[in-house]
């Protein structure tokens, strides 16, 4: 995946929904390029259109103005070059873990399928759980299966829609580490929508801040500190303060932490 595949470009994109017979603008003139192999987070308060933007990139929303280009080609629907992890794990309860991972692989031969399933079980650290059912898994494990299912398709871009939003705080921090590890291992583009500012800073090369009504990109912040990142470092704190400032949630004396 090193030949610059997995670049996603959004150009002059606007989108409105019809609510009570009148148009409600959700996204207003969005311009952004997601570079191949980067990890980008989109943060914003509820209703800023970040999930809509993700659904456009996924190909589930097709009515909008402007362009959404995947490797230079207009996105017209879902495709296996883009994987998705939803907030709910969305595993099919009647399939085993292994069958869920193989969900998008049915064009392959049985042997190839099994190979990919084994590889991805290993990747997310769930060896031995192949024949378990989703109801037997914890939230974190289920979300790992969902990630394995998305990665098994060998996408160029992995879209993550608040993937850790339903997990408890500790599992969540652990899973952030896992996501970072998977991203470094797979070397693919990851685009994550999240509410969690710390999560965004911990994982991303760039944090895109959106504001609502109508959704616009307010600011893009580069995070260049080395990985793995220390949540307690002054640099981390500073970036966090900078982002929170955009939501008018900044502290009066942001550098108090640094003293």
């Amino acid at each position: 995946m090193s030949n610059n595949k997995g670049t996603l470009e959004i150009r002059n994109l606007s989108k409105s929904f019809i609510v009570d017979n009148s148009p409600l603008q959700i996204l207003n003139n969005i311009n952004i390029t997601f570079k191949s192999g980067s990890f980008v987070s989109i943060v914003g308060s509820s209703g800023c259109g970040k999930t809509t933007l993700l659904r456009i990139m996924l190909g589930l929303e097709n009515h909008y103005d402007g362009e959404a280009l995947m490797d230079g080609k207009q996105i017209v629907g879902p495709g296996t070059n883009r994987g998705i992890v939803f907030q709910d794990h969305r595993l099919l309860p009647w399939l085993t873990v292994g069958e869920n991972i193989a969900f998008g692989l049915d064009k392959l031969k049985k042997k190839e399928k099994q190979l990919l399933v084994d590889e991805h079980l290993q990747l997310v650290g769930l060896n031995g759980f192949e024949s378990a059912y989703p109801s037997q898994l914890s939230g974190g494990m289920a979300q790992r299966v969902a990630i394995a299912r998305a990665l098994a398709n060998k996408p160029e871009i992995l879209l993550l829609d608040e993937p850790l939003g339903a997990l408890d705080a500790l599992t969540r921090m652990y899973m952030q580490k896992e996501l970072e590890r998977l991203w470094q291992l797979e070397k693919i583009t990851m685009i994550m929508v999240t509410h969690d500012v710390e999560e965004a800073i911990y994982l991303s090369d760039k944090v895109v801040i959106m504001s609502s009504r109508p959704g616009i990109i307010k600011k893009i912040i580069d995070v260049s500190s080395s990985r793995p990142r220390d949540r307690a470092s002054s640099e981390f704190m500073q970036i966090k303060a900078e982002i929170l400032e955009e939501f008018h949630l900044g502290t009066e004396h942001p550098f108090a932490y640094a003293i």
């Binding site: 190909g59 879902p78 709910d88 099919l92 059912y133």
Partner: protein, 261 residues
């Protein structure tokens, strides 16, 4: 551990048979105490005797076999057509628009209301008996299949769409398995309906064979023991069959989960 398991099992069985034992004991006490005329309420012992006589002749087993066959045939026809129709209505809004109002209107007519018409059209023979049983099973199976299909979460459709599932594959791999629990509810209810309509079919569309005819014969002879024996037969058969179907249904659900090639 083993000992505790078998203890638990014994306790469960005891729990199941406790109520019938209490009822039969009360029944025996009432008849022994002479609180009711044995002409109207024969003792449990008398009913047991009736059972013994009934089962000592091959005729009663034949009656049971005929009834079972009737229910099975009607139930099977009702299930296959009900699942097919429910799926079609669930999958296509057009089919629903065309057929649903008619279906719901027809459904309001109690089964017994159809019997004169069915007798006039088909005569007193096996076809109308099986037919009304299948219609009785058809209603709940259609309804539950329909609602099962309609209630497949939108999230599953999104997931399917992202992975390129369309058409028949979507139906086979997502819609049917997701609707299966609801379809199974329909099948269980449909089976129960089949059994209750069996009696109507056998008593109103006269026939020589079937447990229902034995109950009717008991009434004609004022042999309440025979009537009660018939009722118990139907209850036990219906209950066993529903247990069996539930077992099959569970196996299918699990089998589906395991074998998706």
């Amino acid at each position: 551990m083993k000992r505790r398991d078998s203890y638990k099992k014994a306790k469960a069985i005891l729990g199941t048979i406790a109520l019938p034992i209490v009822l039969i004991t009360l029944w025996q006490l009432v008849t022994l105490g002479g609180f009711a005329s044995t002409r109207f309420l024969p003792s449990p012992y008398k009913v047991l005797q009736t059972f013994v006589t009934l089962f000592s002749k091959p005729a009663y087993v034949h009656h049971i076999a005929v009834s079972l066959q009737r229910v099975m045939a009607g139930f099977l026809i009702g299930s296959v057509t009900g699942i097919a129709f429910g799926l079609l209505m669930g999958l296509s809004k057009t089919v629903e628009k065309i057929f649903a109002p008619f279906f719901h209107a027809v459904r309001q007519v109690p089964m017994i209301g159809w019997i004169p018409l069915i007798i006039m059209l088909f005569g007193m023979n096996e076809l109308p008996r099986v037919l009304i049983i299948s219609v009785a099973a058809f209603y709940p199976i259609t309804l539950n299949t329909f609602s099962g299909v309609r209630n497949v979460p939108n999230e599953f459709f999104e997931l399917a769409s992202v992975n390129g599932y369309k058409g028949l594959k979507l139906i086979r791999k997502i819609i049917i398995p997701a609707a299966l629990p609801s379809i199974n509810t329909g099948i269980t209810t449909g089976l129960a309906m089949s059994w209750s309509i069996l009696m109507v079919a056998e008593i109103f569309i006269q026939t020589a064979f079937g447990v229902g005819t034995q109950i009717q014969r008991g009434r004609d002879r004022f042999d309440i023991a025979l009537v009660i024996a018939g009722i118990i037969t139907v209850g036990v058969l219906g209950y066993s069959m529903s247990l069996l179907v539930q077992k099959i249904v569970k196996a299918v659900e699990r089998g589906r989960a395991v074998s998706t090639d």
